[in-house]
């Protein structure tokens, strides 16, 4: 949102008499590259770090692992990272919604494990149609989240306590569903086939990755140009064409390089495609709908939201339901990796990884600031570390310690940047 403040005044705007269109104290960006640089420095000083820390972290992590193992940046390993980040990423997407409220959901990993068990028991034990079972599983997740939301919003129990209770309770339910066998094998069909490790966009066709890249780049370019036209017509500040081009080219470089690298191996995993599509939809919901605006408002000031007529309790319940739904979807993704529902699903460091991903990506723990793309950026970091440590055959004990340290680092960056923003009047 903040980057819009730097947009240029339209040249053809007639300033209303006696009222200067711009306050002289406003920092207007200078034209050209130098302008970007001054703007960048000002933002850094003000604690508006944006995606910078995560990009720096990613470069450092990739460099270190590449030096340790030359296979790290290989196409096959990149496909691996892209495939395996989708499952945990889905949990992170749900958490972004919750974090925007300034709350936390500690149950997502356990709900994801339960979802796998529910799906397996429906489709395998009870022979329910694979697609119907998917729908029922996701509905289960949504219902569970709504229950958490109800206790938080209507009864007033702190969210972390409700979801901590859920964490234990839903793990128990999963164990009860898998009692006796301890694990169930899931059939490779329906959605779970699409989510499998050997399922690629357009059947591994080289065109697939480039089509996706082109779609993304074209959407950004066309969307920006339409927005520019409307803004110019309405006489409000708009992005100059040069800036639109720079942004489009930046995305194009990333998208086509990624497509090229993934194509050298098997192409784009379908799980990643679904993950990316989900991000686009959620981004739209959060930034372009009244529901999204309400979520930000509640995260910014509960009192202001309430007085604006927003049903705060309802927003909270819906957000926790969304989190539960994404936890269930993530559980299906994770089950699709091995085609089993096991007692181990949703245990270990999964919860920490999902929270870390959302926070590392730039969504604040303190509510009101963030976006769903942080789930993508954060997952890239997290999955790179996971995959890298696996490549180096690191023990799980080391993985846990490193994950803990990374989460702590992300939270420290978040807290420090919030403090800086406070002192420079931006939070």
């Amino acid at each position: 949102m903040s980057d819009k403040t730097t947009m240029h005044q339209p040249l053809d705007e007639v300033p209303p008499p006696a009222v200067a269109p711009l306050d002289p104290r406003l920092l207007v960006r200078e034209e050209g590259f130098k302008g970007y640089l001054t703007e960048f420095k000002r933002k850094m000083k003000g604690g508006e770090l944006g995606s910078l820390p995560v990009i720096v972290a990613l470069i450092i992590i990739w460099t270190i692992f590449q030096l340790k193992d030359s296979l790290f940046l290989s196409s096959a390993n990149m496909v691996n990272i892209c495939y395996f980040m989708a499952g945990t990423g889905m949990l992170a997407v749900g958490l972004v919604f919750v974090l925007l409220l300034g709350e936390i959901d500690l149950s997502v990993a356990s709900v994801s494990g339960l979802a796998a068990a529910v799906f397996a028991s429906l489709s395998v034990t009870h022979g329910v149609n694979a697609w119907v079972a998917v729908v029922l599983t996701v509905l289960t997740g949504i219902a569970i989240g709504a229950v958490h939301g109800f206790f938080f919003a209507k009864i007033g129990v702190p969210a972390f306590v409700v979801t901590l209770a859920g964490f234990l309770g839903w793990t128990g339910l999963m164990q009860w569903l898998l009692r006796g066998t301890g694990s169930l094998t899931i059939q490779d069909k329906g959605l779970l086939h699409v989510l499998g490790q050997r399922s690629f966009f357009m059947n591994q066709s080289i065109a697939g990755a480039y089509i996706l890249a082109t779609l993304g780049v074209a959407a950004l370019l066309i969307g920006s140009l339409i927005d520019q036209t409307r803004r110019r017509a309405a006489g409000v500040p708009y992005r100059p064409t040069s800036e639109i081009l720079v942004r489009t080219i930046a995305l194009a470089v990333v998208a086509y390089v990624a497509a090229y690298v993934l194509n050298k191996s098997a192409g784009v995993p379908n799980a990643l495609v679904i993950f990316l599509a989900t991000l686009v939809i959620c981004d739209f919901v959060l930034r372009r709908t009244t529901f999204g605006r309400k979520v930000f408002a509640v995260g910014g000031s509960i009192e202001a939201a309430r007085r604006a007529g927003i049903n705060v309790a309802m927003i909270r319940i819906v957000v926790f339901a969304i989190s539960g739904g994404f936890a269930a979807i993530g559980g299906l993704f994770l089950a699709g990796q091995t085609y089993t529902a096991t007692l181990q699903a949703g245990t270990g460091n999964l919860l920490m990884l999902a929270i870390a991903a959302a926070v590392i990506g730039g969504t604040s723990l303190f509510g009101g600031r963030g976006n769903v793309w942080s789930a993508l950026l954060g997952m890239l970091v997290i999955q790179s570390i996971q995959t890298g440590l696996d490549l180096l055959n690191m023990d799980q004990s080391i993985q846990y310690m490193i994950t803990g340290a990374v989460l702590l680092a992300a939270v420290v960056v978040d807290s420090v940047s919030r403090r800086t923003q406070r002192s420079s009047g931006r939070a």
Binding site: K4, M7, A234, R288, T289, A305, R307, G309, I310, A427
Partner: protein, 262 residues
């Protein structure tokens, strides 16, 4: 007093409100006509903010009736008040720090286009509104957090006007403002009267009150303590009603006469 309609647009009849052990309001009466500025004055804790919140639907009344254009209405939620056409600017402004000026102005009544937020129109109208009110802020796209106290106040008032209300309630709008911004807010109040809105203005500042108000209602310890037309009333009379000071020439004479007749 300027011309006012016969039926008050908003009237409170015998309104009471209690919070646990505190009887914040007792049998309060208040009338506001279209095109009238009613000042509500009283000491700290007199119940002014509480009265505002009952009208705005933040705290529903315990007893009494609220009448809107002559009809008795129930205001139980902020939406009820908004729906009638009552806009409130609270003493604690309650803006969302993380949203920008446009987002705050339109919070709760966003404009839509094909089902999604129409940011362009909202931004355009925000700029127009702020311009007609001569409100100067650096940009409508900066987060509220980066505005000064006075700028937040004018944004909060502008926010109240977005929904085209019939009654605007301003709770101590000038308390945190400098000289120039206070003058702006008072100009704004007069512009609201010209547009035939009813205005309830809460203020501690007698100069502000006498400058723009038509009628002054005094609240003391949660009860009405007199209503005065601004013309023909001195500041001393109002202040006496606020403080409950009975020790003045008028009351002494009354008391003596009462004793004499007994």
């Amino acid at each position: 007093m300027v011309h006012v309609s016969a039926t008050p647009v908003l009237a409170l009849r015998g309104v009471s409100k209690r919070f646990g052990a505190v009887q914040a309001l007792t049998d309060v009466e208040l009338e506001v006509h279209a095109g009238e500025v009613v000042a509500l004055v009283g000491d700290n804790g007199a119940g002014k903010s509480t009265l505002v919140k009952t009208i705005a639907g933040v705290h529903p009344v315990d007893e009494g009736v609220i009448e809107w254009e002559g009809r008795s209405v129930h205001i139980n939620r902020p939406q009820d008040a908004q729906g009638l056409g009552i806009a409130t600017v609270y003493q604690d402004l309650a803006l969302c720090d993380n949203l920008d000026v446009v987002g705050n102005l339109y919070l709760g009544r966003e404009l839509l286009r094909y089902g999604s937020l129409d940011e362009v129109t909202m931004e355009k109208r925000s700029r127009e509104l702020l311009n007609t009110l001569s409100i100067r802020i650096p940009s409508v796209r900066i987060p509220i957090a980066s505005l000064s106290g006075g700028q937040r106040q004018v944004v909060a008032i502008a926010r109240a006007l977005i929904g085209e209300p019939k009654v605007v309630i301003l709770d101590e709008p000038t308390a945190a403002l400098g000289v120039e911004q206070t003058a702006q807010v008072l100009d704004l109040v007069e512009r609201l009267r010209e547009r035939r809105l009813g205005v309830i203005l809460i203020s501690h500042n007698m100069a502000d009150v006498t400058a723009v108000a038509d009628t002054v209602h005094v609240l003391r310890l949660g009860k009405n303590n007199g209503a005065f037309p601004v013309k023909g009333t001195t500041n001393e009379q109002i202040i006496a009603a606020i403080t409950g000071a009975t020790d003045n020439a008028v009351t002494r004479r009354l008391a003596r006469n009462a004793e004499a007749t007994q």
